[in-house]
């Protein structure tokens, strides 16, 4: 019973403002790597705090590892690991001291569960006497993960673990999560980075406190209703403007090197209007990414 379930969870902090989360329901199965994907302010942290018993929901029910988040909060606190979004270890304690402190706090020792954190900890080992405040961003994240794992939690909550971490460390971090999954730990991770979504088994797209879609990343991209084209030209900003003015184009979004567009007509291709554009373009059909789906759902 390492699963997590939410049923119509709602929470608002200020009655005059829209609720932080509203009518959120989803389930995470045993041993799943579940991603909560959404921009800043979407309500990810609020949901995590409700699930980790730090906040009380206004409405709805939630269960973590078979325990009610309100009634059995003490039990939940023993069984989950939580890594808050902000780096939350003691900056003036060394790597070793931090780890020992949290191990003891959870009534265990570093040695007892060393196999679980070994892969991560070996990278920290050379710095074990260094104070946590003096570590690099990626190292801090690894230490925080070690501390959250040290008591072998049943469910692990990671709130934006890769925010503020360099690209290499980010992928390393996801590799670690995949390894942890094999230990049977259910992992809930939130991230504003859409490119990380495909690394999860199942994702929930969240925007303004509401869940827009819950499915596997594959199923979500497969459900994209239109054909998607990527268009490139010399002058990208001019292209963007003329595409926006074009009545055949349904949506345009700038995606770095290319603009992603969908057309009003289901069967057309950009060839239908290339002659009407003031510049030469290059186009191709592409598979939609999670970000395309997210933007599509936001505007829908």
């Amino acid at each position: 019973m390492n699963n997590v379930s939410l049923e119509s969870i709602a929470k608002s902090f200020d009655a005059s403002k829209p609720p932080a989360v509203k009518d959120v329901s989803f389930e995470v199965s045993d041993g799943e790597l579940f991603g909560l994907i959404g921009p800043d302010g979407a309500g990810k942290t609020t949901l995590f705090r409700i699930l980790t018993t730090l906040l009380l929901a206004d409405e709805g029910k939630a269960k973590v590892a078979g325990c009610d988040v309100v009634k059995d909060y003490k039990q939940i606190r023993k069984e989950v690991g939580y890594m808050p979004g902000k780096f939350s270890l003691y900056q003036d304690l060394s790597v070793e001291e931090n780890l020992n402190f949290f191990a003891t706090l959870f009534g265990t020792t570093v040695m007892e569960n060393y196999d679980l954190i070994k892969d991560i900890y070996v990278q920290l080992e050379p710095f074990k006497t260094r104070r946590a405040g003096k570590l690099s961003g990626g190292m801090k994240q690894k230490l925080a993960l070690c501390c959250a794992l040290i008591h072998r939690p049943k469910v692990l909550f990671l709130d934006e673990p890769t925010t503020g971490v360099d690209a290499v460390s980010r992928w390393e971090f996801w590799e670690m999560l995949k390894r942890l999954k094999t230990e049977g730990i259910t992992i809930l991770v939130s991230t504003p980075y859409m490119d990380e979504a495909s690394l999860c088994e199942k994702i929930a797209l969240i925007q303004e406190g509401r869940i827009m879609s819950i499915d596997t990343p594959m199923a979500i991209t497969a459900a994209f209703p239109k054909e998607l084209f990527a268009i490139k030209a010399e002058n990208m900003s001019q292209l963007l403007n003329s595409l926006r003015d074009n009545e055949l184009v349904q949506s345009v979004n700038a995606f770095g090197e290319y603009h992603h567009i969908t057309l009003v007509k289901d069967s057309g291709t950009p060839d239908a209007f290339t002659d009407r554009l003031p510049m030469a373009i290059e186009w191709k059909t592409i598979e939609p990414t999670i970000e395309d789906c997210f933007i599509h759902m936001m505007s829908a």
Partner: protein, 367 residues
């Protein structure tokens, strides 16, 4: 138990690794004791005086000699006309002038009395009063020895100052500084240390752990209790060996009541930290909310009896007021528990109340 122990150990590490905290914790009390003990005293020592001696006879010379030998005064000039007095006062160095009229000795012998004029610089009225009192005392002594007590029958008032015969300021200041320092340091330290966990975000992790949140309070209080008792020892050692302050009463009793005050302060600190969300806020409340009332209402700077009634009533809620009374009784008067049980009970009641409120206010969740 193991959890509590490692938590307390962690708290000690926080203190010892932060030089600023350490300085505040141990530097502040020492600085205060030294400041109040030496610099900010209202005792009169080495005050400069001038003498205008129009008599120039034996009696006036003898009296001037007595002034010269007194510790309180330094004779600046002695041959001076009355007109010059105004001039030296304006320079601000001289605080008192003694003027002997002509025929001083003659009138003293023949009439049995003579006049001496004391002119004081009363820009600081307290100093002026104290100085003239000292000078009068010297002259009374002189009169007695010069004329002999039997020569004229008059009632002489003999004042004896109990517990502090030399009217030394330190006897007043040391208990006051003890109250001030213990209260300030403890309130500030505890309030900041809990809020720091909130600010850092570590509170979130602590809450999502099997560790009982009330243990957080205990773990935070224990290190500062121990450090404050060390602090108290330092203050007492400084006042005994540096300021020659006696401890007339029982030392264990003094430590016991001080521990009670420390606990009052710790509970107050916990209350502040439970009601604030940033270290700055906590620090501001602790400093502003504690410093001024403690200074004002403890009674060691401004006598509470002289305040308007509403302020006198208000002073009752200041813990240091009661502690100050207790410490004066124990340390200076050497009284036992029987004399201070009432104040101790009040302090104990305050501690209990603050502790219950702060524990009730302690949130086991974030909001």
């Amino acid at each position: 138990m193991k959890q509590l122990f490692i938590f307390i150990k962690k708290e000690f590490k926080h203190v010892f690794r932060d030089q600023k905290t350490l300085l505040l914790l141990f530097g502040l009390p020492i600085a205060q004791i030294l400041l109040f003990g030496f610099a900010l005293t209202n005792e009169i020592k080495d005050s400069r005086i001038v003498v205008a001696d129009y008599a120039g006879d034996g009696a006036s010379q003898q009296l001037i000699e007595r002034f010269r030998q007194n510790d309180s005064f330094v004779l600046e000039q002695s041959l001076l006309g009355a007109d010059d007095i105004d001039e030296v006062f304006k320079q601000g160095i001289v605080k008192l002038a003694v003027v002997f009229p002509e025929q001083f000795e003659k009138s003293l012998i023949h009439e049995g009395k003579a006049q001496v004029q004391l002119i004081a610089d009363a820009t600081d009225p307290n100093t002026a009063t104290t100085l003239t009192n000292y000078a009068q005392a010297i002259m009374r002594d002189f009169q007695v020895s010069y004329l002999g007590t039997a020569s004229n029958l008059q009632i002489e008032v003999v004042t004896r100052n109990f517990y502090n015969p030399e009217l030394r300021g330190t006897t007043n200041f040391v208990p006051g500084v003890m109250a001030l320092v213990l209260l300030l340091v403890c309130v500030l330290m505890t309030s900041v240390s809990i809020v720091r966990e909130k600010e850092l975000g570590t509170m979130e992790i602590l809450l999502v752990s099997p560790f009982n949140p009330l243990m957080v309070i205990l773990a935070k209080a224990v290190p500062y209790l121990i450090l404050s008792i060390i602090n108290l020892t330092v203050i007492l050692l400084l006042s005994v060996f540096l300021l020659d302050m006696p401890i007339n009463g029982s030392i264990p009793l003094l430590f016991a009541v001080s521990t009670l005050l420390i606990m009052t302060a710790l509970s107050l600190g916990l209350l502040i930290s439970n009601s604030t969300n940033s270290q700055q806020e906590a620090m501001l409340i602790s400093l502003m909310g504690m410093l001024l009332p403690t200074m004002m209402f403890t009674g060691f700077i401004f006598p509470i009896e002289n305040m308007p009634v509403p302020l006198q009533v208000l002073s009752n809620i200041i813990p240091s007021k009661w502690y100050y009374i207790i410490v004066k009784d124990v340390m200076i008067k050497g009284l036992g528990f029987a004399a201070i049980w009432k104040e101790t009970l009040i302090l104990f009641g305050m501690t209990l109340f603050l502790l219950v409120v702060s524990i009730r206010k302690f949130k086991t969740r974030l909001a």
